[in-house]
Symmetry: C2
Subunit: 159 residues, 2 copies
């Protein structure tokens, strides 16, 4: 295993472990639990679930893996805070999207090789990437992994 | 910059950003806020702060950077759940430890070079490390970064 393969493995393993932890949690919470506020006056579970799907969806164009699939979620779950938008998908619909997205991302990620992961993400130009090689696709995975961990720590309080 | 330097930078940058985010939060919360439960019946802020200090402290021997400094925190903040131990340090004492530890870790991390970071951590033998080179010091930083993000997501609800 080359050092690059090792480093790709470290970051992708951490992403997968973080997805698995959140996935087990989300699928163990009832629709009623996910409708609750995590703490009085704070975000509801449904909002965080929609937020995670929307944020992960945007990885696709960033990683050059195609267009976002759930752009309709942006308004309610990225651009707006919780409770600002009254018409939301149901918890059941969001859970179905989460489970579908989980498989889709895994399949697409599995097709990338180590060189792909060390290549630039699409929001950095070739010129800038030559100067800032840390702005690679693995870095996208890493920042989304800590983002996911942050919100999983919140969702766990719904149990 | 070599690829190894790039990868070291990506992970260490993410650690530092995560510490900074938590540090700003912890130092913005009053002692009274940190005494509160994050959600009804859940962990108190003081417990999570002590837990983070204790977990980060154990990185020192794992990274071959010396002995743990706050081993007295283990009983209350790692081995026991919140509220099981009645005699805890004060919030002010824990905040002082957090701030001291933050500087100490930064100084020690800054002295390691890229080869050090790609070397094995102390809980893996040389023999196993030859077969599993991903069990390096950077991997310790990465797992502690997602752990920190998870609990920062909880602490933020004290605001």
């Amino acid at each position: 295993m080359t050092t690059n393969q090792t480093m790709g493995k470290i970051i992708l393993d951490r992403w997968e472990a973080s997805v698995k932890q959140c996935d087990t949690l989300v699928n163990s919470l009832s629709d009623e639990q996910l409708q609750r506020e995590i703490a009085p006056g704070k975000n509801r579970g449904i909002y965080l679930l929609g937020h995670l799907i929307a944020v992960h969806d945007h990885m696709l164009p960033l990683l050059d893996l195609g267009a976002a699939n759930y752009a309709e979620l942006d308004e309610a779950f990225i651009k707006s805070p919780d409770k600002a938008v009254s018409e939301l998908p149901s918890v059941a619909e969001l859970k179905a999207m989460w489970n579908e997205q989980k498989e889709d991302l895994k399949q697409k990620f599995d097709k990338l090789n180590t060189d792909d992961w060390f290549g630039r993400h699409t929001s950095v130009s070739e010129e800038d990437f030559a100067k800032e090689p840390h702005r690679n696709k693995l870095n996208i995975i890493l920042t989304r992994t800590t983002h996911l961990a942050y919100h999983t720590g919140q969702l766990v309080y719904l149990k």
